[in-house]
């Protein structure tokens, strides 16, 4: 039998954190898809990782830095070009505080 890795309640919870609202049918569909992905990840558990440092990055590079130098910023108009709403050089959003 296939184990359940993520419940529909958990999907609803994570959706809520991401400000997403799903219909019941969607919640079930995503739960099933996420379960499939997570089960696939189980394959990794078959590898013996005893004594192996957890990997945090795909490439071995360390200490990639930029110098503290000011470069060019975007023109405000360009910065706001994708904003669904803008006003007075600002992005405008539904009020986020009561």
């Amino acid at each position: 039998m296939e184990t359940t890795k993520i419940s529909t309640d958990e999907v609803t919870y994570v959706a809520n954190l991401a400000r997403l609202i799903f219909a019941e049918e969607e919640t079930e569909r995503f739960a099933s898809q996420l379960n499939a992905i997570l089960r696939y990840m189980d394959t990794l558990q078959e590898v013996d990782t005893t004594g192996v440092e957890p990997m945090t990055h795909a490439i071995a590079q360390k200490n990639a830095f930029r110098t503290d130098a000011v470069g060019e910023s975007l023109p405000v108009k360009t910065a706001l070009a994708n904003a669904p709403e803008a006003r007075g050089n600002c992005f405008q959003v539904p009020k986020v505080i009561e």
Binding site: Y13, N16, L17, A18, R19, T56, H57, A58, I59, Q61, K62, N63, A64, F65, R66, T67, D68, A69, V70, G71, E72, S73, L74, V76, A79, L80, E85, R87, G88, N89, C90, F91, Q92, V93, P94, K95, V96, I97, E98
Partner: protein, 476 residues
């Protein structure tokens, strides 16, 4: 039952870099909204943040100054939450493997010194600024601050009262400013503080339920907010109630705090390592190189001033309030070799002028050399203390050297005994009535003669010399 407050503080300090932490946009405060943004700090897809090296160095300075252990490696993580001040949907911060841990600072409290532990210091990016419209249901977002570098300094829950909290904050603040890595401006949000507060029965080892306090933008507000919070929890507990774990916002005008609404849901940040940023490795050589750049810290400097210059602890505290002021004072001492006089003049006239004009010491028109020259002139008796006050006033207003002002105003103190004797003889001759009174034993008349001589010499005579000569000559 007697309760004991347990307080831990989280301080966010904006770092004084020119550019943001992961891109080349300027960090300058007060620019037109969204004029300091680029695809990286706007969180456009496909961009690559790269860490500003100076941010690491500034973090290391603070870590060393607060006795932290610098870990060899550290990682950046994504702290996920959705809020309009954060265009990416996550803040780049550090979580597991912070760069600095296990530090402490010493604070002066009633009855001695106390060590407050520092749990960790880490680097992160600041979020944008929200402005809520008063009349319509919208908020406006300015992302200039997004990506401005911050260090977060987390204390151990070692703080036992509002005053102690204020002392700890002042210590952090002056250290950051001394290190010249943060401008410390609380009004502009360069130095921010959140507090975790709980109460427990005195003697208990376990912690009570805590409330988190935000929005305290001055030392005074932190102290007031904490005093309020301690009382609030005490009333709750004494009344048989319990403290709810929540975030509360301090309302400065009303002098109360309210539970925060709107933003708060049970936060679940789902931190994970940021794949865009490679690990930072800090080796011993780098730590040593940064250690070499550390200035003398305020507490050490204060103690050295008391020891070497023999000035009171209070004076040393005032003079070391900023690194520039302490440098100024020390330069005057070096040039005049008069630590006490230098302290009197800097703390008296100089700070008074600057306070009146709301100026910083670096904008003071009187150079340390000019002040040292003035002190030498007083010491040599060329001018009296009274004249010096007049001279220093001119120096401040015109930036001229004391010697030039004295010459121009003809302020040279008369120290020539023969010349002064002649003036005194004339004054005595002109006032035979007062002379008779004095000789009859009415000693108060002496003051009258001093006044007359001062007037005749336009205040230029050395007061001590007047006194000596007058006594002799009046006696006949």
């Amino acid at each position: 039952m007697e309760y004991e407050p347990v307080i831990g503080l989280e301080v966010h300090a904006q770092l004084l870099t020119d550019a943001k932490i992961f891109c080349g946009c300027s960090t300058k405060f007060g620019a037109a909204p969204n004029s300091h943004t680029c695809p990286i700090c706007l969180g456009m897809p496909g961009v690559l943040p790269v860490l500003n090296k100076k941010v690491v160095e500034f973090m290391m300075k603070m870590a060393l100054a607060t006795n932290c252990r610098l870990n060899r490696g550290c990682l950046f993580a994504r702290k996920n939450y959705f809020y309009p001040d954060l265009p990416k949907g996550y803040q780049i911060s550090q979580y597991a493997q912070p760069p600095a841990e296990h530090g402490w600072v010493e604070v002066e409290i009633a009855g001695g010194k106390k060590r407050i532990g520092i749990t960790r210091i880490h680097m992160e990016e600041d979020a944008g600024k929200l402005m809520h419209d008063e009349f319509s249901p919208v908020s406006r977002v300015d992302l200039n601050r997004t990506g401005v570098p911050l260090i977060e300094i987390v204390s151990e829950p070692d703080i036992r009262g509002a005053e102690e909290a204020a002392a700890y904050l002042r210590r952090l603040h002056e250290t950051l400013v001394y290190l010249e890595i943060c401008d410390g401006n609380m009004e502009e949000g360069s130095f921010r503080c959140d507090a975790n507060v709980s109460l427990r029965p005195k003697g208990s080892e376990t912690f009570g339920t805590r409330a988190e306090l935000k929005n305290m933008n001055s030392f005074r507000n932190v102290q007031r907010a904490l005093e309020y919070e301690i009382k609030r929890q005490q009333y709750l507990l004494e009344g048989g109630g319990s403290v709810v774990q929540e975030t509360r916002l301090w309302d400065d005008t009303a002098g109360v705090s309210h539970p925060m609404r709107g933003k708060e849901e049970a936060h679940d940040y789902r931190y994970f390592p940021d794949p865009d940023l490679v690990p930072v490795v800090i080796d011993d050589a780098w730590v040593e190189a940064v250690r070499q750049t550390l200035p003398e810290l305020p507490l050490e400097r204060r103690e050295r001033f008391v020891r070497d210059y023999q000035i009171p602890a209070y004076d040393a505290g005032v003079l070391t309030a900023s690194r520039q002021l302490a440098d100024y004072y020390e330069e005057v001492v070096r040039l005049s070799a008069e630590p006490k006089l230098a302290s009197n003049w800097v703390m008296g006239e100089i700070l008074r002028f600057l306070n009146e004009d709301k100026k910083e010491i670096r904008a003071c028109p009187i150079t340390p050399a000019a002040l040292a020259e003035l002190i030498s002139l007083i010491k040599e008796g060329q001018i009296s203390g009274k004249m010096a006050k007049e001279v220093v006033d001119q120096m401040y207003r015109t930036g001229a050297a004391p010697g030039a002002i004295i010459k121009e105003k003809g302020l040279v103190q008369i120290t020539d005994e023969a010349a002064l004797s002649a003036t005194i003889a004339a004054v005595i001759a002109a006032n035979p009535g007062q002379l008779a009174q004095y000789r009859a034993g009415k000693e108060k008349v002496f003051g009258f003669f001093v006044g007359q001589v001062m007037k005749a010499t336009q205040g230029k005579a050395n007061p001590q010399l007047i006194n000596d000569l007058l006594k002799k000559m009046l006696a006949g």
